[in-house]
């Protein structure tokens, strides 16, 4: 059984260790915490700032520090950070980084439905779409804590503004080790298949993995690709990997048909004149006030394993 961890704790632990040898790192929070953050803010009180519940100022102060050459982490709850402070991210990170170096790592915790019972204000179903729309931004959507741990180095060395989309729940690892994973490639083919390939990001890769394993028991080989760097993604290598399939099923805890992971896959395949079919699985165009666990919300939205398997079987028949 692999260890279960939260992405935020693993990432913050990595940043914390890095801060001992790199005094050009600042960690800013909009009054949002984590067990591992307690140690960081105690040991680096001169480089940790709680700006208060003020996401716009979080991004603006982070920008100012980054303009002076600091590596900055701006940490808050995902929907509030990405949507209340969207214009700050657009103007001061995405836009300004085209003329000045701005290494701000915007960390949003609470990807997709991970804050399940907190309701629609806390569900974050738009962030992939709106962050992908911004030039110069890098968009990281890890499926597990090992990828997240590996991203610490990327966050320091790649001097670009980034959005890090972390799940709020503790999750097991998907990858046994990540030494051979090339973050800049943006994806990993976890399993090769025959006709159908699941393309997932974030938490949905866990579901996709379960589904692929269940079907394998029935002698059906389904491919699985985990997309962890939505922007920039090595599109040519992605296409080389998926071109052998007849059907791709995109899988994300986000609205579909609006330019999220499904839009990314669609444009990569479509721009190359491929006839590979794409089935988009995610959230439909409405908010959910339904109360219940993440699994329950998945069942309501046909994102549960049974629905996924049904879609795959249908794909294999057609």
């Amino acid at each position: 059984m692999t260890e279960i961890k939260t992405m935020r704790d693993v990432f913050i632990e990595g940043v914390y260790r890095r801060m001992f040898g790199d005094d050009r790192i600042f960690f800013l929070s909009a009054d949002f915490g984590s067990p591992k953050l307690d140690k960081l803010r105690e040991d680096f009180s001169d480089r940790f700032i709680n700006v208060g519940i003020a996401e716009q100022n979080l991004v603006n102060v982070a920008t100012g520090l980054a303009l002076e050459g600091f590596t900055v982490y701006a940490y808050a709850i995902a929907p509030f950070l990405t949507m209340r402070a969207y214009e700050q991210i657009r103007n001061n990170l995405s836009l300004l980084s085209q003329t000045r170096q701005v290494n701000v790592n915007v960390i949003g915790v609470g990807a997709g439905l991970s804050y399940d019972v907190s309701g629609p204000t806390h569900h974050c179903l738009e962030d992939i779409i709106i962050m992908r729309a911004l030039p110069n931004m890098h968009v990281f959507s890890p499926s597990d804590w090992r990828l997240t741990e590996k991203f610490v180095d990327y966050s320091v060395t790649v001097k670009k503004p980034k959005y890090l989309r972390f799940d709020a729940k503790p999750l097991p690892a998907i990858y046994k080790e990540t030494a051979d994973i090339d973050l800049r490639k943006g994806f990993c083919e976890i399993a090769g298949g025959e006709k159908v390939c699941l393309v997932s990001t974030g938490f949905m890769t866990h579901k996709a993995l379960n589904v692929a394993q269940r079907l394998k028991g029935e002698g059906i080989n389904v491919g699985l690709i985990d997309v962890f760097l939505l922007k920039p993604l090595d599109e040519d290598r992605f296409f080389e990997t998926v071109k052998k399939y007849e059907l791709l099923i995109s899988l994300e805890e986000a609205f579909v048909n609006k330019g999220g992971l499904d839009g990314l896959v669609s444009s990569i395949v479509g721009n190359r004149g491929s006839r590979i079919r794409l089935k988009r699985m995610g959230l439909k165009d409405e908010y959910s006030f339904s109360q219940g666990s993440r699994d329950y919300l998945h069942r309501l939205n046909a994102l549960d394993e049974e629905s996924l398997i049904g879609n795959i079987r249908e794909g294999l028949r057609s």
Partner: protein, 281 residues
């Protein structure tokens, strides 16, 4: 000796007034070719720019725009800083020829100045961003043990943006005494007098309550601006500082000075000729 000092000072201020006159004329000339520029907003800030750049208050090096030893100047009300173009050209940030092709194809200078222009530090087209970014720079400079200052120019209408007050609270809490904000208090927004929209007066109190040091002067009096800014720049009393500069929107153009819609008004070339002739007489 004392008389000489007074004479030198008045000569110095006279030279700043002459510069301000020249900047107004150049701003009008820019507006002649670039009618999209926000003339009235730019004219209220002329003396502020002149005092900062020619009054020895800002340290800068046009040959090394990101020189570490520079004071940082964030022009948060970017639309109202067309009057900075002639100054930046004059001190050497870019060729003066650029002033005659503002807003034309492939020109360096546009209707709203942004970070692509040497001398501008940040993106300025949307209001309410500058003070927060300046707070981050101020924290960074303190961390680097730099004695350089961060100046920020805000419009009074811009103060309606909530993000300004997030930053104002932050600056007070963190005792950012290397931060000097200047409010170009020209009293008019896009559609009306600020007093008729949301009256912010008494403005001093809004900053004082956030633990800022506040001063207020006539924003067209170069002598008063210079001494207030010098005082604020040198003060290291543990508080951020703001100078409320009371100005007139459209200063120098009588038809704009009394028009609540001056923000969106443009002048015809013949009106510009008449106003410039009047200035010189």
């Amino acid at each position: 000796m004392s008389e000489n000092k007074t004479d030198n000072k008045s000569l110095f201020f006279r030279s700043l007034e002459d510069k301000a006159l020249w900047v107004r004329e150049e701003t009008l000339n820019i507006h002649r070719i670039a009618q999209q520029t926000r003339l009235a907003s730019s004219l209220s800030a002329v003396e502020i720019f002149v005092v900062l750049y020619y009054g020895g208050l800002l340290k800068f090096d046009p040959s090394d725009v990101l020189w570490e030893g520079r004071d940082r100047f964030i022009i948060s009300k970017g639309h109202g800083s067309i009057s900075l173009y002639p100054i930046l050209a004059d001190v050497g940030y870019f060729d003066r020829q650029e002033l005659s092709r503002v807003c034309t194809d492939e020109s360096l200078l546009g209707g709203i100045p942004d970070a692509i222009i040497p001398g501008y530090e940040t993106m300025n087209g949307s209001l309410g961003h500058g003070l927060g970014v300046a707070c981050g720079i101020a924290i960074a400079l303190k961390r680097m043990k730099s004695d350089k200052k961060v100046f920020v120019l805000l419009g009074d209408g811009e103060l309606y943006e909530g993000s300004v007050w997030e930053a104002a609270m932050f600056a007070g809490e963190h005792k950012l005494d290397n931060l000097i904000a200047i409010v170009d208090n020209n009293r008019i927004c896009m559609l009306d007098y600020c007093s008729k929209i949301l009256n912010m007066e008494p403005l001093e109190d809004k900053f004082r309550v956030q633990r800022w040091q506040v001063d207020r002067v006539d924003g067209h009096n170069v002598g008063m601006l210079h001494s207030a800014l010098t005082r604020l720049k040198d003060d290291t009393g543990g508080r951020p500082k703001v100078l409320i500069a009371d100005t007139v929107k459209g200063r120098g153009v009588p038809s704009l000075e009394t028009d609540s819609l001056s923000h969106i008004k443009s002048l015809k070339p013949e009106e510009i000729d008449r106003i410039i002739a009047g200035m010189k007489s």
